[in-house]
């Protein structure tokens, strides 16, 4: 492994969030009864013709602008010819030699915090195919053409990634971006965002790429990582044992965690691409590009840089908070009420308690059971020392469960922190009096027993003693008014 370089390129298919299909008026909603969203154009009836959905072009241009890519003033739809029952016309309309989006790039932050630029070769528009259904049909295959004609943006990267982790970081970045741009819902279970990975290995230091295998249709970040890891290991093992990697298409089996050969280059289709004579070349004017540019939101990298700068957050924290537009908005709403000075506290809570609660209940940030105002209400009570950070976690759980405000919960449960010096001293005195042996040991130099006394006081106050005050007072009491040894 150490003697090998890994080279990875991804082809990401992002389903564009248009209301209707790319060349017909049919709806694109997911999960409708089979063939209820397929009209004569989708069924490829004799005589029908495709008409390009301008919204799909607008979305592609939006993506192109977001990655700083060249937008082609003229792009051409081509036919990719092959026979398959879920491909009604016998060809897929795609873009081949002249895609709408040319070269661009985006930055990913690696685990060690380093920033790496990944090149995007091109992004082109195409239509999705339908799907074959086998379940519940004896001696027959059903064809569902609801998905046929759904617009896809195929985003092709340069072979710039050097590990499975980099590939995942890149894919996540694209995922973040398309959702920021609101051009794709990013739903990977439903297949709205998926990728093919081109993987090859070469001896370390070698300039020439090795022979690549293409792993088809990976629809989760985890599968991308595992499939690539498996494939890299397979290729290295193959070469080291004297074999040769052949150019082929492979499928990843997530149950067995392995890739399997689907078809070799020799068996590959000759797609006989040629410009589709039913569609005119897409001409894009400068004014159109500028109009689209004006609709671009603040992009993830810009937002993360602003968070890092304005809120004094680490690049890592800022990056996590900007992973989705909604998460960033939530965080900003919290900070707005709390004040920028306390942004780090807000960041910790959003990335910590809030994120784990969302994950646990499998909720999107927009469906959070604790809205931003409620979270800032809670954090304000930490800041004004009404409750400790530890108690706050319990309060948060109660808020999540009951949907009440932090103040309600603190009030009804009597969780208000004890900050009265005399009250805390009283408890400390009682604890010391009840534990003479521990006191003697502590005074004899067993410093670790300090924690024991803290625990006892907290137990007695049900955790409400102000931790800072407690520490100070306890130290003084334990040392018996003398300076500690």
């Amino acid at each position: 492994m150490a003697n090998w370089d890994v080279v990875i390129g991804l082809e990401i298919h992002a389903q564009l969030a248009t209301k209707s299909k790319i060349f017909s008026g049919s709806a694109t909603a997911y999960g409708a009864p089979p063939n209820s969203q397929a009209d004569l154009v989708d069924l490829a009836y004799p005589g029908v013709l495709p008409v390009l959905n301008a919204e799909a072009v607008r979305m592609a241009v939006k993506f192109g602008l977001a990655i700083g890519a060249v937008i082609a003033r003229r792009s051409v739809f081509a036919r990719k010819n092959y026979f398959y029952p879920d491909l009604p016309k016998g060809y897929q309309i795609s873009q081949y030699e002249q895609p709408v989006v040319g070269k661009g790039s985006l930055n990913v932050v690696l685990d060690d915090g380093a920033v790496k630029t990944i090149g995007v070769t091109r992004a082109h528009l195409e239509e999705d195919a339908g799907k074959s259904l086998h379940e519940g049909l004896a001696h027959a295959t059903g064809i569902d053409l609801n998905r046929a004609g759904t617009p896809l943006l195929e985003i092709v990267s340069e072979p710039d990634m050097r590990s499975a982790k980099e590939a995942v970081a890149y894919m996540k970045k694209v995922h973040t971006l398309v959702r920021y741009l609101e051009i794709c819902d990013g739903n990977m279970q439903e297949g709205s965002f998926r990728c093919d990975a081109n993987v090859s290995v070469r001896p370390r230091g070698e300039a020439k790429f090795g022979t690549r295998a293409e792993i088809k249709n990976l629809n989760s970040f985890r599968f991308v990582e595992k499939a690539i890891q498996y494939e890299v290991a397979r290729q290295i093992e193959l070469i080291e044992s004297g074999g040769k990697v052949i150019q082929e298409t492979r499928l990843y089996d997530s149950d067995k965690n392995e890739t399997r050969s689907m078809r070799s280059k020799e068996e590959a289709n000759d797609y006989r691409y040629f410009p589709d004579p039913d569609l005119l070349p897409v001409q894009i004017e400068e004014t159109f590009i500028e109009a689209v540019r004006a609709t671009l939101p603040e992009l993830p990298d810009e937002k993360a840089a602003r968070f890092a700068r304005d809120f004094a957050l680490s690049a890592y924290d800022a990056g996590v908070l900007c992973a989705s537009r909604e998460l960033g908005a939530y965080f900003e709403a919290v900070v707005q009420t709390l004040g920028a000075a306390h942004a780090k506290l807000a960041a910790n809570w959003v990335m910590g308690e809030l994120s784990s609660a969302l994950n646990r209940d499998n909720l999107e940030i927009t469906a959070s059971r604790v809205p931003p105002a409620a979270l800032s209400g809670l954090l304000a009570r930490i800041l004004d020392a009404t409750i400790s950070g530890k108690i706050a976690k319990d309060v948060f759980e109660a808020m999540w469960r009951d949907g009440k405000t932090a103040d309600d919960i603190i009030e009804t449960k009597g969780l208000k922190q004890i900050t009265d010096t005399h009250a805390i001293e009283g408890v400390i005195d009682a604890v010391i009096a009840a534990n003479p042996k521990q006191l003697a040991d502590y005074r004899a130099g067993k410093d670790k027993l300090f924690g024991f006394f803290v625990g006892q006081v907290m137990k007695a106050t049900e955790g409400k003693a102000n931790p800072a005050q407690l520490n100070e007072l306890l130290k003084a009491k334990l040392s018996g008014g003398k300076e500690p040894v």
Binding site: V48, R79, P88, G90, Y91, D270, R272, F274
Partner: protein
């Protein structure tokens, strides 16, 4: 009194408007002619008599309500390449013998709303691939002038029906001459408009970048009235052009004085003397009408046939992939697996000429051959286009024969595709360049009609129709009917 079927569309419209005849009577008249004459010709493959009479009755109601229209209540026959809602649309193929179209082509919709009455569907070469109407699954169409001769193709049924006056006019499509060549061989007027002038939606595709719908009729004036309704932008066809449609009938008499007509030098190479003489005669007619004539050259035109036979098969090989036995059309009995379903459905559903073109097209698009054939053909296509453009810098329209010879015998060329393909040598150029063309009868050779072809710049249909119309006012060739069909 002139028989109803010999009246012009304008005259029929006047009589319908004056309530001298009803659309139902007119429709019955044509249905009776079809019943009597079609068995000799095989021009119609589907008769829709009941629907026609219902449509005629509806047109009569509209007429009675005071509505007027150039085509209202007037019967036509559609080439069976146009989808007609609820009516079999076979495209001349076994593949679609069982196909009832679930919608109307835009051409059909437009004519239907104008009150046109469809009598039936016309025979044609299978998927419009042929120049003799011998490739039809439904058997060859006979030429009314001599039933041992072909009527031309692929709109052979439409041409024979128009020549035999089985309807007031017929629709056709022209990919490499499929309207003009059969119009010439049957002595009728055939118009192939500019590419994009008429919607292709609902017209079963052969070669998408070349296909164009048009009309076959007894005269340029009749064709003008029909084209007026057919033409126009259609949002369902991205290649249709959003440009206003001129009032073709109103512009028919625009003076020809000073019109510059170019005689196409390349069209006379190897043309038989008697045919050449007819074209020269036509030129004299134009001179007498005040036009200036000069010779022009399209040096790349001789390459049009090989270019066409790369481009058209390439597009057809892809266009016809949808006929796979899965969703509609012919499906082979008891397929054992998917490949068997594909192979047998297509092998049994398509005829020899269609298969030949699919194979040719698949070949020229294949990896390793694409550059040498498809790309090269596209380059030549551009050169031919440039030739025409240069010619139209000098002249307003060009003139020549529509075909090298009059109608040939059924069976004479069907086994020799290359000879058959050369029959389209004069018509293909206009398709490759997307130009409008018209063929008008200009004389007889051995008792068979010959066609004069006029080709103009893009969207010059009114000029072409006007030139054809004024030629027809000065001559009587278009009024000659084949014996037995007067």
């Amino acid at each position: 009194m002139t028989m109803l079927h010999n009246l012009s569309i304008g005259e029929l419209a006047d009589r319908l408007a004056g309530r001298q005849i009803s659309s139902v009577e007119l429709t019955r008249h044509f249905l009776a002619r079809i019943e009597r004459l079609n068995p000799r010709l095989n021009a119609l493959i589907t008769l829709t008599a009941a629907e026609a009479l219902a449509g005629a009755a509806a047109a009569d109601r509209r007429l009675a309500a005071g509505e007027r229209g150039r085509l209202l209540g007037i019967p036509l026959i559609h080439k069976d390449i146009f989808c007609t809602d609820g009516v079999r649309t076979s495209c001349g193929s076994r593949m679609l013998d069982n196909f009832i179209a679930p919608y109307d082509a835009t051409v059909v919709t437009r004519l239907k709303s104008a009150g046109a009455v469809m009598l039936g569907k016309a025979n044609m070469d299978e998927f419009a691939m042929g120049s003799s109407n011998e490739t039809s699954y439904y058997g060859p169409v006979k030429n009314p002038w001599d039933t041992s001769k072909v009527p031309g193709g692929s709109s052979g049924g439409s041409a024979a029906a128009a020549a035999a006056r089985l309807a007031a006019y017929t629709t056709g499509t022209d990919t490499g001459g499929s309207i003009r060549q059969p119009a010439a061989l049957t002595g009728v007027t055939g118009v192939k408009p500019t590419y994009g002038r008429v919607s292709r939606y609902g017209m079963i595709a052969f070669a998408s970048s070349l296909d164009q719908a048009g009309v076959l009729a007894a005269s340029a004036a009749d064709a003008a009235a029909v084209l007026q309704v057919m033409a126009g932008f259609d949002p369902k066809d991205s290649t249709s052009v959003d440009a206003p449609v001129p009032d073709y009938p109103a512009l028919l008499d625009a003076p020809l004085k000073g019109l510059k007509i170019g005689l196409l030098r390349e069209f006379f190479d190897g043309l038989e003397a008697r045919n050449a003489a007819l074209i020269k005669d036509a030129l004299k007619v134009y001179t007498s009408l005040g036009a200036d004539t000069m010779e022009v050259s399209l040096p790349h035109l001789p390459l049009s046939v090989p270019t066409y036979y790369v481009v058209a098969p390439a597009e057809c090989s892809s266009n016809l992939s949808r006929f796979d036995g899965v969703r509609f059309g012919y499906r082979c009995p008891a397929p054992v697996d998917l490949n068997d379903l594909y192979k047998r459905s297509r092998g049994e559903g398509f005829g020899a000429e269609v298969k030949r073109r699919i194979m040719t097209g698949t070949y020229v698009l294949s990896a390793g051959y694409f550059d040498a054939y498809y790309l090269k053909a596209q380059k030549v296509r551009r050169l031919i286009n440039d030739d025409f453009r240069a010619a139209f810098q000098k002249v307003d329209l060009v003139l020549g024969p529509t075909t090298p010879t009059p109608a040939f015998a059924i069976g004479a060329k069907i086994d020799d595709p290359v000879t058959m393909y050369l029959n389209d040598i004069y018509t293909i150029g206009a398709n490759l360049a997307g130009l409008p063309g018209i063929s008008v009868p200009c004389g007889l050779v051995d008792g068979l009609p010959m066609g004069l072809q006029l080709i103009g710049p893009h969207f010059s249909e009114s000029r072409l129709l006007g030139a054809a119309h004024q030629f027809q006012r000065a001559t009587a060739w278009h009024t000659k009917a084949p014996g037995g069909y007067e």
